[in-house]
């Protein structure tokens, strides 16, 4: 635990040192939320979406966007650690694989939690808040972030070059956001969109986050998230045994 926290501290120092590069993490989610709540909510003119007010619907969507971003940031962090020797330093100084993963989990979850808290606060400031419900949704979003951070971690061990990392981010980041019902309902969408949504894990993540605002028990969401968690843990298990401590890309 102490070792994981020590490593996590240096990950956070890294974020702080490069704070100008990480500014997008601070700006993006609130900007999305402001746009959705003040823009689209006006457009839908108070219509309820999937049985809830649009600002609650979009609030959950933005929280899941944070989780999607956490996945790719984390994937990049692990890839960088393997390229820059941080992972090798850790492992050759007796830091175990679970301790390293714990440090990544801690640092990235802290950042994601701060982002989630900022959105939650913004919702209250805009006068659209329902504090108890919003906090429950935020808590579920933190759980989803734990899952996506672990996913990013598992993927990061398979990344051996910047080009592959960038390809993964640009290829999957936007489609994952757009094919899950983060900002619009699946009702009435073409069949192919519903099929894509059904295989997109973030569909289940957002259903889980929305569950405090929905009427029904989120059995489908919980099943989907548990299945995703099992897949992620399997991926991490594979990653633990197969990777070299350092990627071989120069520079």
């Amino acid at each position: 635990m102490k070792t994981s926290l020590t490593l996590a501290r240096f990950h956070l120092l890294s974020v702080w040192n490069w704070r100008t590069s990480h500014l997008s993490r601070v700006i993006e989610a609130p900007a999305y939320f402001l746009f959705m709540v003040t823009g689209l909510d006006t457009l839908v003119a108070g219509t309820r979406v999937d049985g809830m007010a649009y600002d609650d619907f979009a609030y959950a969507g933005v929280l899941v966007v944070i989780a999607v971003r956490a996945l790719f940031w984390c994937m990049g962090d692990v890839a960088n650690d393997r390229k820059w020797g941080v992972y090798a330093v850790a492992r050759t100084t007796d830091v175990s694989f679970p301790q390293y993963v714990g440090s990544i989990l801690a640092a990235n979850t802290v950042v994601a939690t701060v982002q989630i808290a900022a959105i939650c606060a913004l919702k209250q400031l805009l006068g659209r808040g329902s504090p108890a419900q919003d906090l429950r949704m935020a808590g579920l979003a933190v759980l989803v972030c734990l899952l996506t951070v672990l996913t990013g971690c598992a993927l990061g061990f398979g990344i051996n070059s910047y080009s592959k990392r960038d390809l993964m981010t640009s290829l999957f980041s936007l489609p994952l956001v757009m094919t899950a019902p983060l900002f619009y309902s699946l009702d009435g969408l073409p069949l192919f969109m519903r099929v894509l949504a059904a295989v997109n894990p973030f569909t289940y993540c957002v259903l889980l986050v929305r569950s405090p605002a929905a009427d029904s028990f989120p059995a489908q969401a919980i099943t989907g998230c548990l299945a995703a968690a099992l897949l992620v843990l399997g991926g991490l298990h594979l990653a633990a045994g197969r990777h070299e401590l350092a990627s071989n890309e120069q520079g």
Binding site: T6, L7, F10, N17, G85, V89, T93, L245
Partner: protein, 311 residues
């Protein structure tokens, strides 16, 4: 008991390159072992395997973990660019339970004080190299593995690093260091491993390697007065088979090249007693000289020569 044993290590990369082929040797504690060879000989692969950065395709590396950990500095730059110089080193100190005061000591030792708060991306190549060395040296270890640590350093800094490595070995650690600076290797290392196209060609004490590689000593003599006419012929007749004689045209001096193992005494005994020696100097071939003479053409040595290196 060896502190490090490399046992039948082979490494084949996914590209099909065979970087190491059945390499075996053992290193005693308190040894500075130099790993030498041409570019692409397999030095970095060997050191990366010993460091634990990559895994061998077959074979094993066993470090005497009872004596502590393996610390390493790679050839290519591997630092966290987003951390400051001090943070890069402190990270290792924290993970190894080393007192933070050691960070300041190693920063001072490697003249990194002025850039301690600067992020790694804003320092020079030589300073990056120092950061990597500092990271390896900040904690006590049983084995230190440094891949070309003096590359990119100014001569004074390079000598300082090598001197420090000698100190760590004197304190009982094992040091594996690769370098193309063979003069520094000769001053620092007690033994060497010679790799050639992934194969171990020699594992010998440095002096033994130099001797076996056919190193010679050139003895130059200046006489108080020119030699009598008959002396050069007499010297030539009594010259041992492996020696080479060059006489000065004015007969005021001579130079004789002898195998290094011969030593100076037989040369002095060979000189006619009637000649009064005014000046005498002896110049031994260095590790660099014999390496260039024997291995510069990349012709593989005919057979492996190994002797366990002991301090």
């Amino acid at each position: 008991m060896p502190s490090l044993t490399v046992d039948h290590v082979t490494k084949r990369y996914r590209t099909g390159t065979e970087a190491l082929l059945d390499v075996s040797f053992a290193v005693e504690p308190g040894t500075v072992l130099a790993v030498v060879g041409h570019n692409g000989a397999g030095k970095s692969t060997l050191l990366n395997i010993v460091s634990g950065l990559i895994r061998p395709t077959s074979g094993t590396v066993t470090a005497d973990v009872g004596r502590g950990r393996v610390m390493w500095a790679p050839q290519r730059t591997m630092v966290d660019w987003s951390l400051t110089v001090r943070q890069n080193i402190e990270l290792v100190a924290r993970l190894t339970g080393t007192p933070v005061a050691a960070v300041d000591r190693v920063l001072g030792l490697l003249d990194l004080d002025k850039v301690r708060s600067r992020q790694a991306e804003y320092i020079s190549g030589g300073q990056l190299q120092r950061v990597q060395i500092a990271r390896a040296l900040v904690a006590d270890a049983a084995v230190y593995v440094l891949d070309e640590p003096t590359a990119g350093l100014d001569p004074a800094a390079g000598e300082l690093v090598m001197e420090h490595l000698r100190g760590r070995a004197a304190a009982g650690s094992t040091v594996l260091v690769s370098s193309h600076d063979l003069d520094a290797v000769e001053r620092t290392a007690s033994g060497l491993v010679l790799l050639d196209e992934g194969r171990l060609r020699a594992h010998l004490p440095v002096a033994e390697f130099v001797r076996r590689a056919g190193a010679t000593m050139k003895v130059s003599v200046v006489f108080a007065e020119p030699m009598p006419d008959t002396v050069p012929d007499r010297l030539a007749r009594t010259l041992p088979a492996e020696w080479t004689l060059t006489t000065a045209p004015d007969r005021a001096g001579l130079a004789v090249q002898v195998p290094l193992a011969t030593g100076l005494r037989p040369v002095l005994a060979w000189l006619p007693p009637e000649l009064r020696v005014q000046d005498l100097s002896a110049e031994k071939q260095s590790l660099r000289d014999v390496y260039l003479a024997r291995y510069a053409d990349r012709t593989p040595a005919p057979e492996t020569e190994t002797v366990t290196v002991q301090q």
